[in-house]
């Protein structure tokens, strides 16, 4: 019996830790539920903060839940929101398909639901989704890098770090890269495509191995900024990490616009970064939900065109870059 008790205690402790559910009731008025699939990168942390602050600005109460990668648990969390009587839901789903039953549950309860950052499958019910144009932002970033390559007057060998092949955003970014780089076939040859599964250790091993096979790689694009440390570590080991202007500088670009990207840009190691406009996305999503709650109508999809930040527009664009406005830990 005693053993069982302790076991149950441990279990409930784990549940507490992993569910991370905190209630924060505020003054009376509109309440929305915010459910994130993960908080495992800076990007998600910043997004959560932006959504919360936009809510606060509009006097909206919110309840937060994080499902740590478990789609099933996320479904339960949303059901809890519904039974608690929230007025609206903002959610980052795990993928395009597990969100479908969640949307349907919200529809049945007639609660407006807003999807953040990952587009649901076509047959999903009524919802509003905000997504960055991963394809276009990546393509523009790669184009900028391609111009640099052409301007250097010599040929380059390129490497791309691909994200989790099950993540639709990773696929769009890869396609954006492929189509962007095509225009520069004359100066850039892609010699290495590394699947990282969004994992820093795999990325480090992959980049190191690729540099081993092709020591003359001089053009690197990563599908997410959070892989920067791995790339830098591998470049340092191969003695290839040099600032812009150095003769052995590697043309270097990323995607996200996180704080590390900002500091690398400032220190002149990074050439360009595709930025998802977190502020724009979060604000417009909260606004859309708000107007739905009030009985208004909004489109099904809000596209964040994003932008490319690079050495030449760094100062003027930095205010819009979420990574530049966070305190670097």
């Amino acid at each position: 019996m005693k053993m069982k008790k302790i076991f149950l205690m441990v279990l409930s402790f784990i549940c507490l830790l992993s569910a991370n559910t905190g209630c924060r009731p505020k003054k009376k008025g509109v309440t929305i539920g915010i459910s994130f699939e993960t908080l495992q990168t800076e990007y998600w942390v910043a997004s959560m903060a932006a959504i919360k602050s936009e809510c606060e600005r509009n006097g909206i109460n919110y309840i937060v839940a994080v499902s740590n990668g478990d789609a099933n648990r996320q479904f339960e969390q949303v059901n809890n929101f519904i039974s608690q009587g929230v007025d609206g839901i903002v959610i980052t789903p795990k993928d395009a398909h597990t969100i479908v039953p969640i949307i349907k549950a919200a529809n049945r309860a007639s609660i407006p639901i807003g999807i953040y950052n990952r587009l649901p499958a076509d047959h999903a019910g009524e919802h509003v989704a905000v997504v960055a144009d991963n394809y276009e932002i990546t393509k523009s970033t790669v184009r900028y890098m391609g111009e640099l390559a052409r301007a250097s007057g010599r040929k380059h060998k390129a490497m791309i770090l691909i994200g989790d092949l099950g993540d639709i955003n990773a696929i769009y970014r890869r396609d954006g890269f492929n189509d962007g780089i095509k225009e520069f076939e004359d100066v850039v040859e892609v010699v290495s495509r590394i699947p990282t599964e969004w994992n820093q250790e795999k990325a480090l091993a992959g980049v190191t191995n690729a540099l081993q096979a092709n020591p003359d790689i001089s053009f690197i694009f990563t599908s997410s900024d959070f892989l920067f440390p791995s790339i830098i570590s591998a470049l340092k080991n191969a003695d290839k990490y040099h600032p812009i202007g150095h003769e052995n500088h590697v043309i270097f670009g990323g995607f996200d616009g996180d704080p590390m990207a900002y500091s690398l840009l400032k220190e002149q190691y990074l050439d360009a970064d595709g930025v998802q406009d977190v502020f724009y996305e979060c604000n417009s999503l909260v606004q859309a939900i708000l107007s739905l709650i009030e009985g208004g109508k909004v489109g099904r999809k809000i596209v964040d065109p994003g932008f490319v930040i690079h050495q030449k527009n760094l100062n003027e664009k930095a205010t819009d870059m979420w990574g530049a406005n966070l305190q670097t830990p």
Binding site: V45, E201, A205
Partner: protein
């Protein structure tokens, strides 16, 4: 047994080694860059963290246990050492401190397993979540970028050998020695074969269990530091799913999940090197990224199949033996 049967038996017994050689030769033929000294050093460096983790795991698996928490231990150790160094503690202070954290996790695992008699799978699944949650809490789910000094350790050399390889060799030699040449090591095998029998034979079963989980926790901490010194950063996914890689490496190396069978040298080492060589080779020959999981899965399937064949043929050989 006929000579043919004997040859098959021999081949099955060394299947992982054979497969490893096949992989080396295949990639060697596909790319001239694969079997260069530089790349082999690379493979060794890259597999050092995994191998160390798998060595600890081997001890636990040999007692018919399992430790799912090692990836989380790596994460906690990474986050805490990162935080400590960032706030200005010298690295040489931080290292022993976080090694103790690894030991603590091992202690907690062992306590629940043999004091409260909860099966290892459940206990370490719990510490797996606790560790991950703790790490996320401490790091506030943010990546921690480590100071230069960490990377310098990773790229420093001792007697001409890169530091990760030196540490790997040390852990490997000590682990192999403990397992094969000490009373404790041989008793680990006895416990893994049959815990009740071991108790009857006077083997201090509790002490053995405690020690293997401590060893596993310590190895996870060392493995974490070795990985950090190469990465230079701790992301919230650091160490994630490494427990499965470690178990895979040990099992590929011939360690039985049912306990009592397996070894570190050559077993676990070859298992880990095999996994890493395949990853490395695929990048070197620039394969379509979609192919990666297919190939990795195929190799694991092959090994499991060979393992089951090996088991069957041993059974058959035993049955054939007459006792007249």
């Amino acid at each position: 047994m006929t000579r043919f049967q004997k040859a098959i038996q021999l081949l099955l017994n060394y299947s992982t080694v054979v497969l490893f050689l096949v992989v080396l030769v295949t990639f060697g033929l596909l790319s001239p860059k694969f079997l260069t000294l530089g790349n082999i050093t690379n493979i060794l460096i890259q597999s050092s963290s995994l191998t160390i983790l798998a060595i600890g795991m081997t001890f636990v698996l040999l007692t018919a246990g399992i430790d799912l928490s090692v990836g989380s231990i790596m994460f906690v150790v990474g986050v805490i050492s990162g935080k400590l160094v960032v706030i200005g503690l010298p690295i040489w202070w931080a290292i022993p401190l976080v090694l103790v954290i690894g030991l603590l996790f091992g202690l907690v695992n062992a306590f629940f397993i043999f004091k409260l008699k909860i099966v290892p799978f459940i206990v370490t699944l719990a510490t797996f979540y606790v560790g991950r949650g703790l790490g996320l809490y401490i790091s506030e789910t943010r990546a921690i970028n480590l100071p230069e000094s960490f990377l310098q350790i990773g790229s420093s050399k001792l007697l001409g050998l890169p530091m990760p390889i030196v540490i790997l060799l040390l852990v490997l030699i000590i682990g192999h020695f403990v397992l094969s040449s000490t009373q404790f090591g041989r008793q680990v095998y006895a416990v893994g074969n049959d815990m009740a029998k071991a108790r009857k034979a006077g083997v201090p079963v509790k002490k053995i269990l405690l020690t293997v989980y401590l060893i596993c926790g310590l190895c996870a901490a060392i493995s974490s530091l070795v990985a950090l010194a190469q990465l230079g950063a701790v992301s919230p996914t650091f160490g994630y799913q490494n427990e499965f890689m470690a178990i895979a490496a040990a099992v590929l190396g011939g360690t039985s999940l049912f306990g009592g069978k397996g070894n570190i040298l050559p077993g676990t080492l070859i298992g880990a090197l095999l996994i890493q060589s395949i990853q490395n080779g695929l990048v070197i020959i620039n394969v379509n990224p979609y192919i990666y999981p297919v190939i990795t899965g195929t190799v694991i399937f092959l090994i499991v199949m060979i393992d089951s064949l090996r088991h069957k043929s041993v059974q058959k050989a035993l049955r054939t033996k007459t006792t007249i």
